[in-house]
């Protein structure tokens, strides 16, 4: 038996963490898991993808009927159907991703308790998989928008910026929920309620200008509200109120920005704090 002369150096084992095992492995795993999961749903079953499109479309159909035929808000707003469709698709992404991520870490119990697995991959893979799905849905949405007769403008190029802001926020919320659920099982119920409140607290069903002025400020504390409003301006209606115009100047956006940043910082902090002990808590 030959004895090797060249030896690997001893490196310290630091235990589990959010990123565990180096950034390369982290991103490899995140990408691989998301792509495989997406492929499974998209190619594995015909209904898989169609279902994920049918749900927002059905919701859209019902709401369109209610708000144009019964409440007649829609008829006063330019491009209301496509505004509604776009808002529903984007909000469905946020809502379903965060709801799915709540139980994600606990569902992956085997991997967490029995392998050295970068914990952060689990909720973020949920977000990334949903993002792939969203891209497909957005193709459909933009086909509708063009068919509706909205002309493309150069501000369409800004849409990805708003989308990125939505992704980051969704990711941060998912991180918080997935790690809190390990210890507090009522998080799932609580979040279902909050997500519902956020749906009505974001200008999806209604355009912001029909909301009484005093409540506009309240709605714009919700970080999703300015993002959705800005997407409306950039993609559908250059004449609509921009986010800053709604709250009367950039200063009015400070509460929403603080909450947005606060949520992101809190997400990183709590995930880093709890990641090493997830295996023990399960």
């Amino acid at each position: 038996m030959s004895v090797e002369v060249t030896e690997a150096p001893l490196r310290e084992v630091r235990g589990p963490s959010a990123l565990g095992g180096g950034p390369r492995r982290f991103f490899d795993l995140l990408w691989l898991i998301s792509v495989t999961e997406f492929k499974r749903v998209y190619f594995g079953t015909v209904l898989g993808y169609i279902w994920s499109l049918v749900r927002p479309l059905m919701l859209f159909g019902v709401l369109l009927f209610v708000f144009t035929k019964i409440f007649r808000i829609g008829s006063q707003v330019p491009n209301y159907p496509v505004l509604l469709l776009q808002g529903i698709v984007l909000f469905t992404f946020f809502q379903e991703t965060t709801l799915n991520s709540v139980t994600s870490v606990v569902t992956q119990e085997g991997v967490v308790r029995k392998t050295q697995f970068p914990r952060l991959v689990i909720p973020l893979a949920v977000v990334l998989t949903a993002a792939f799905n969203l891209f497909l849905n957005l193709i459909v949405v933009f086909a509708f928008i063009l068919a509706w007769g909205v002309d493309p403008t150069w501000t369409w190029l800004l849409f990805p910026v708003a989308l990125a802001a939505l992704f980051v926020f969704t990711g941060a919320v998912s991180m918080i929920l997935s790690v809190l659920y390990v210890r507090y099982r009522d998080v799932a119920i609580i979040w279902t309620v909050i997500a519902q409140v956020l749906f009505y607290g974001t200008p999806v069903l209604y355009p912001i200008e029909i909301v009484p002025a005093s409540y506009q400020h309240l709605i714009f504390i919700n970080p999703l509200a300015p993002i959705f409003e800005q997407i409306r301006v950039w993609v559908l209606d250059p004449n609509a109120l921009t986010a800053t115009e709604v709250v009367g100047g950039a200063a009015g956006l400070i509460p929403a920005a603080l909450i947005y940043i606060g949520v992101c910082i809190f997400a990183v902090w709590i995930f880093n704090r709890d990641a090493p002990r997830i295996a023990e808590e399960l």
Binding site: E12, G15, P16, T115, Q116, Y184, I190
Partner: protein, 406 residues
């Protein structure tokens, strides 16, 4: 073959778990009473563990349930974080302590192999390159695009094991791997272990099974109560483990004395050494001195005692008996006591044994009393006689007679 280089170095490792006396598991409760239930019990799983494993070594970690051995493995695998102390490791570790734990049953074998390869530290392309080798080892080439949920459990285990072999990690951590699968698979595991041994892999094996440790390990570690009890020779670790395992919590003849029928009562039963001290563990080769006391509860024409020595699997290994004689007559009056001294040559293989005691009425009167497990004891030691239920004295030789031409 172990080299001189160190593969794993553990120093002063400590780990304790907090066990809340009252668990707060809802956010509502935490918010309503933010400072309640902060009190918890501290369970010290590992208390200052230090050891070194050399590169190319097969290293066994043994201990009873709750001794801290699995905690140690999980710390090595970066599943738990240590409270204090350092672990340093050379080379790439396969971070799987159980076969097939990373498998997603909804995915195909191809996808799972790539995914798990990456989990074990390969780059995605490397993992794809090794797909064929893995499938070949597992003999599952034709099922590459079948979802794992359609695999049989045997196929799953084969795939998992093949994957572990083919990812080529420098250090492997294995927890009770041989406990799974059928005999053929266990044989394959054994062969693969020998292969790894020959390739100079460093393997840390956590197990209950002393046979595995004695067969494969260069060195072993016995841990108990979070401390290292012994480190070194696997045979010695095996002996100490066996002794430790039955020392506590299993009193001799526990529950047996006092059992009675209308005819007789079993007063006491125990095993003692040559000097008459009561024992729970007997070294292989040292005589077993069985002592039993019974009391007649009414006048009896006579009794005979029979004993069955059974091993842990319930197999009767040996049976023997003793008739009672009392000053020429075998009649017993109520209150008479009978003392039995039986000496049995200890040819038993290491393990746990039970003595069942039966009292018969003389003259076809049937069974007066039967006590299951009236005494139990542990046999340890013995030279490499770990297989079989007894270790009989033998002589054997093999002679070459040359080729016969017919």
């Amino acid at each position: 073959m172990p080299t001189t280089a160190t593969a794993i170095e553990v120093e002063g490792l400590r780990k304790s778990f907090r066990i809340p006396t009252h668990r707060v598991d809802s956010l509502k409760e935490r918010i309503v009473r933010p400072f309640s239930a902060r009190d918890y019990r501290e369970l010290r799983a590992l208390d200052g563990i230090s050891f070194k494993i050399r590169k190319g070594e097969f290293f066994g970690i043994v201990g009873r349930n709750g001794s801290g051995k699995s905690t140690l493995l999980k710390l090595l695998a970066s599943i738990y974080r240590a409270d204090a102390g350092t672990i340093r490791m050379a080379g790439r570790l396969a971070p799987f302590i159980e076969l097939g734990v990373g498998f997603n049953l909804e995915l195909t074998a191809r996808e799972n192999v790539v995914l798990n390869g990456v989990m074990m530290g390969l780059a995605p392309q490397e993992a794809r390159d090794r797909l064929d080798a893995v499938l070949e080892f597992a003999e599952l080439g034709e099922f590459v695009d079948l979802k794992l949920k359609n695999y049989s459990s045997g196929m799953l285990v084969r795939l998992a094991f093949a994957l572990m072999m083919e990812v080529d990690a420098d250090v492997l951590l294995i927890d009770e791997v041989l406990a799974v699968g059928d005999a053929a698979f266990q044989q394959k595991c054994s062969d693969a272990f020998r292969g790894m041994k020959a390739q100079g892999k460093t393997v840390v094996l956590v197990t209950h099974d002393m046979k595995t440790v004695e067969e494969f390990c260069h060195r072993a570690l016995l841990i108990d109560g979070g401390h290292i009890q012994h480190e070194g020779d696997p045979d010695e670790v095996g002996r100490r483990y066996l002794r430790l395992n039955f020392e506590r919590g299993s009193e001799v003849g526990a529950g047996a004395p006092g059992q009675a029928s209308d005819d007789v009562r079993l007063l006491d039963a125990w095993v003692e050494d040559d000097e008459g001290a009561r024992l729970t563990n007997i070294e292989h080769g040292k005589s077993i001195h069985l002592r039993v006391e019974v009391e007649a509860r009414r006048d009896l024409a006579g009794i005979g005692l029979g004993f069955i020595l059974a091993n842990a699997d319930g197999v009767g290994v040996f049976q023997f008996g003793a008739g009672v004689s009392k000053e020429g007559s075998s009649e017993l009056a109520a209150g008479d006591r009978v003392k039995v001294s039986a000496d049995v040559e200890n040819l038993l293989a290491p393990g746990r044994y039970f003595v069942h005691t039966g009292v018969n009425r003389v003259g076809g009167g049937g069974v007066a009393l039967y006590v299951h497990n009236s005494v139990d004891f542990v046999v340890y030691g013995g030279e490499a006689q770990s297989r079989g239920i007894v270790a009989l004295p033998y002589s054997a030789k093999a002679v070459v007679e040359g080729a016969k031409h017919s």
